[in-house]
């Protein structure tokens, strides 16, 4: 009898959870489906869900019209570049704060996070003017630096959280056993730090890939990443649902896949280990 009830309960929650999940995912599913339709099928009423003539011509047309590949490369370069640059600066910093904490380390970390609270709108104009006078407007270098700066506090916090969990006893034990500094770094520290660095990297690539305020305001064509490329579809004359969907699908697919792989690390990383 008890088993029966729990079986029924299981079925109920399974169906409910699947319904809710599909409802939340539906806008994305609909976009992907529409990207394979002809324009006529895309606005058909009643809507066509699965039974339409599947076509891939939208993707070819999107690429032909506005060079998806160039924007895609910009996105890749900018998000990976800013993440690597950020890591380069953040690793030593987080490392020393985790292993040589001083009295003010906690305050320092709080201050760093608080720079993230500074509204972008408050500093847009100076950044725009500085960029203009230094010739950095619409360059990959310029936007890479800005994205590095806005994500730096998050990178430091995430790395700090990961590093702090490496027990310092292990280091001391290795030293006792006579490991050289080089061996210590190669065989003890690196294997323990790499997973944390990898998740930090993954998450920051995602954040940088999707960042829109700075990319929209500081790039126009040459250095424009996919966020800007998609925004160009917002003008009324460019309103073709199937093509819009194809462009959207192409913009989100890489990062969606990356995000799915990193969802476990996402929780730990973005909550600074406060939630486990």
């Amino acid at each position: 009898m008890a088993r029966r009830v729990s079986d029924r309960r299981r079925w109920f929650f399974t169906v409910l959870a699947w319904l809710v999940a599909l409802l939340i995912f539906f806008p994305i599913l609909w976009t992907i489906l529409t990207s394979f339709k002809s324009e006529a099928d895309a606005i058909a009423s009643p809507p066509k869900f699965l039974f339409f003539d599947w076509t891939t011509e939208n993707f070819a047309e999107v690429q032909a019209r506005s060079s998806y590949l160039r924007h895609f490369m910009n996105s890749v370069i900018i998000s990976i570049g800013s993440t690597l640059l950020g890591l380069l600066i953040a690793i030593p910093s987080a490392w020393s704060m985790a292993f040589q904490p001083g009295k003010r380390t906690k305050d320092l970390l709080m201050w760093m996070l608080s720079t993230k609270m500074m509204p972008a709108a408050g500093v847009l104009i100076p950044m725009y003017l500085i960029f203009r006078s230094w010739g950095l407007l619409d360059t990959r270098l310029g936007i890479t630096i800005v994205l590095m700066l806005i994500n730096l506090p998050i990178i430091i916090w995430m790395l700090y959280t990961y590093f702090r969990e490496i027990p310092s006893e292990i280091l001391e034990a290795a030293r006792m056993d006579g490991a050289s500094l080089r061996n210590e770094i190669v065989h003890v520290l690196t294997p323990m730090a790499v997973p944390g660095i990898a998740s930090t990297m993954l998450l920051n690539v995602i954040l940088a890939w999707n960042e829109a305020f700075w990319t929209l305001n500081l790039t126009t064509s040459k250095a424009a990443p996919l966020t800007t490329f998609i925004a160009s579809y917002s003008s009324p004359e460019g309103l073709f649902y199937a093509k819009l969907s194809a462009a959207s699908t192409m913009a989100i697919a890489p990062i969606l896949i990356l995000g799915w792989f990193s969802q476990k690390q996402l929780v730990r990383g973005l909550t600074f280990g406060a939630v486990k």
Binding site: S45, P126, Y128, L244
Partner: protein, 289 residues
Amino acid sequence: MATRHQKSLARFMVAPSVLLLLGWMIVPLAMTLWFSFQSYNLLSPGMEQFIGWTNYKYFLSDPAFWTAMQNTLLIVGGVLLITVAGGVVLALLLDQPIMGQGIVRILMIAPFFIMPTVSALVWKNMFMNPVNGLFAWMAKAVGAQPIDFLAQYPLMSIILIVAWQWLPFATLILLTALQSLDSEQMEAAEMDGAGAWAKFTHLVLPHLSRAITVVILIETIFLLSVFAEILVTTNGGPGYQSTNLTYLVFSQALLQFDVGGASAGGIIAVILANIVAIFLMRMIGKTLE
């Protein structure tokens, strides 16, 4: 254990990030402050002059500012309300024994990875469009008049779009916290005859408080400066109905070229964010002890 040598090495290693963030914070902020006291229009270069508090007076007396201020708080508050409440419900649901939980979770988390420009365009055109949108079709199917969401309820529509993007984040964090709940405690409560509601309010919710704090902190950081969703869907309109502070400063600076006025607005946005920040930092400081 830490020698003086090690200490100075540690300082040396922290220095680059501190200097960069300090520069990133001070230089643009000082410039914004300076511009905010100038009459400075990009269309008339060379005409800059010191005008005291005029920009602030102008900006603060502009009804658009108060609308934008209100909208900023409504967006942050509305999205937080939806995502935290919805996140708790969804986390409780996902915590049940479900078949295919991995896939369900993947489907639910997906909106968080969608870039804001894409989600705004998809919602605007394929769902909320009063002629071709799916919502319009659904309304017609039941014989109702289609609603032009972005024209009639612009702010609410934007809150819905943004909430859709952040609900998965709240759900995922809260689910993780929920899964660390001690099951023995739950069983003990059940033995003592606690009902589902009593268990929820006395055990689950207190356990989740830390995770909820974190969700509020992270989301507020991002929600105070919602931008792309507004730019792509409504351009802040109709009128100023869906303009937030970020968007107002943007339009003042880059659409009207009024650097002085926009800078005053920027400084006000910074002050507002700092008030929120002090409050939040206290909260998170306690949480992370």
